[in-house]
């Protein structure tokens, strides 16, 4: 699959604050992002013949009726939740390389007016499995990942100052991005004055709550060469994960070596091998930042530093746009730009490799995108220009 497909189109709705996309429906936001993406590619919506989703996906039957897509040849979704946001591009590439489709849409969208993701766990229907955690008052991912963050602090000496550096460096990128939700610079004092939500996670360790949709178009590299933009080549898009991670935050029985991690280690290893590049080759990384602590653990799992040294790595300034060896979440991330199920990270990687990013990393040639640390599967994506 290496280097056989490319991202050729990018579409997005505005990034709305939670609830502010009303009265548009979720399907409408999805449709607008898809139409934007085909237009950006120089294609017509009628040429779409595939959908590759994650996190439950959307209703393809409704989308083809709504948008006027004559025939669909491939429609599939990765299992799991936000873990698949980067891997959905790999699913699209698999469909194209195997000849099952030619123009494939990957799209993510959310509206949080009615259900806030911060308390989504408590909204799940009662099951025999969640009876083993619901009584404890873990009502959302932010509570659950706080347990992993605490363990990481215990094992490796990671501190809240390290989390603060992730929050502040990400905010610094949002300050210069007109699309970003939060654009006021954040000081260390701001961070430590923020309300504590689930110790050690304070308000600024949590991602934003937005409404919005982001879609990309994937096609064969051959066809991509005839389209409007310079192709952003898909070197590798992998998903999966180990039994040692499994249901992760809903299970909490991961072996000690994996508990304080992002669950990405196995996928990361396969991803770099499939792309035939090394961590040090990556020019910019768009890392799923639902929580600051999980950025640190992904940096470790993707081999940018040793296990346990993620705190020291960010403290060194490594992930800063200015002067860092690995600029991370250059659009302001989900912490400060917008949360759209991880698809903002795909968008930002494409813009970096087109050379059109608001906070352009000079000469960026290789970008890593990660899917959300969540239940298996998790996923990663390596793109090149």
């Amino acid at each position: 699959m290496r280097d056989r497909t490319a991202i050729v189109g990018l579409g997005a709705t505005p990034y709305y604050r939670r609830g502010a996309s009303a009265p548009q429906t979720l399907e409408e936001l999805v449709g607008k992002s898809i139409l934007g993406a085909v237009d950006d590619a120089g294609l017509h919506v009628r040429e779409i013949d595939g959908f590759a989703y994650f996190a439950g996906g959307f209703d393809t039957s409704m989308l083809i009726e709504t948008l006027g897509i004559p025939e669909i040849r491939f429609t599939a979704t990765l299992t799991g939740t936000g873990g698949g946001s980067a891997g959905a591009i790999g699913l699209a590439a698999a469909a194209i390389v195997s000849g099952q489709a030619e123009v494939v849409v990957c799209v993510g969208a959310n509206q949080q007016g009615a259900q806030r993701y911060g308390s989504i766990t408590a909204a799940y229907p009662a099951t025999p499995e969640n009876a083993f955690f619901s009584a404890s008052g873990l009502v959302g991912p932010g509570h659950m990942f706080a347990l992993l963050a605490r363990r990481h602090m215990h094992l490796y000496g990671t501190t809240r100052d390290d989390f603060a550096e992730v929050a502040m460096s990400t905010r610094a990128n949002a300050v210069t991005n007109p699309n970003a939700t939060l654009r006021r610079p954040m000081t260390r004092e701001d961070y430590f004055n923020a309300p504590m939500l689930a110790d050690p996670h304070c308000l600024f360790d949590f991602c934003l709550e937005n409404d919005g949709a982001v879609a990309v178009i994937v096609t064969s590299l051959e066809r991509a060469r005839d389209l409007r933009h310079k192709p952003v080549r898909v070197l590798a898009g992998n998903h999966g994960g180990g039994q040692d991670w499994g249901r992760s935050i809903y299970w909490m029985n991961m072996p000690d070596a994996s508990f304080a991690s992002s669950g990405h280690a196995a996928v990361a290893k396969r991803l770099f091998a499939a792309a035939d590049v090394q961590p040090e080759d990556i020019d910019t990384a768009q890392i799923y930042d639902h929580f600051t602590s999980q950025v640190i653990m992904q940096l470790e799992d993707y081999g940018f530093c040793e296990k346990g040294e993620g705190g020291a790595f960010v403290r060194s300034g490594a992930i800063r746009l200015k002067g860092g060896s690995l600029p991370v979440n250059t659009d302001g991330g989900q912490l400060s730009c917008a949360y759209v199920w991880g698809m903002t990270h795909v968008r930002e990687a494409v813009e970096q490799l087109r050379g059109t990013a608001v906070n352009q990393v000079p000469g960026a040639q290789l970008a890593l995108v990660t899917g959300g640390p969540s239940i298996v599967p998790v996923s990663g994506l390596i793109l090149a220009n």
Binding site: R116, G118, S119, A122, A126, T127, P128, E129, N130, A131, F132, F133, S134, A135, S136, G137, L138, V139, G140, H143, A146, L147, L148, R150, R151, H154, P195, M196, L197, A198, D199, P200, H201, Q243, W251, M252, N253, F259
Partner: protein, 146 residues
């Protein structure tokens, strides 16, 4: 400092199946059980239909002492749901069970100063009976010093 409370009771709704019901039945008798494979002795929680090591379906339920230690914890200090307001702060915790073959339970540390809770804190079980008496919830307190 604040005392660790119990989370809102409304968050728990029992749902069970043939594999988890024995665990909940035992809670009514204030017995904490761990699912131990009858084939190879591997312990697993929550109880599931197969042993992940040897794929056996046979379980020897193992009662444990109720002592353990805090593996990790978080202090919930802000209400995300309105019901949480009267219950703050509370402390969701992952507890490694003594004699449990390494398994951990997701529970709470309660009735103690929040500031004294730490990773590795020895704890002991305390049962919260639910109305009706069919089920009790396991929570944990710091182990009383002898």
């Amino acid at each position: 400092m604040a005392i660790a409370k119990r989370p809102p009771p409304g968050l728990f709704k029992l749902s069970s199946n043939a594999w988890t019901q024995p665990f909940w039945d035992a809670t009514a008798r204030h017995v904490l059980l761990v699912a131990r494979c009858a084939g190879c002795g591997h312990c697993r929680m929550p109880p599931t239909p197969f042993c992940p090591v040897c794929q056996s379906q046979a379980i020897n339920w193992k009662p444990v002492s109720g002592r353990g230690e805090v593996y990790s914890y978080t202090v919930v200090e802000r209400a995300i749901l309105p019901d949480m307001e009267a219950h703050l702060p509370y402390v969701p915790a992952v507890i490694t069970l003594e004699g449990g073959g390494g398994v951990r339970l997701i529970s709470n540390v309660v009735d103690t100063e929040v500031g004294t809770i730490r990773v590795g804190l020895p704890v002991q079980l305390v049962w919260d009976d639910l109305p009706g008496g069919a089920v009790a919830l396991p929570r944990f307190r710091p182990l009383a010093q002898p």
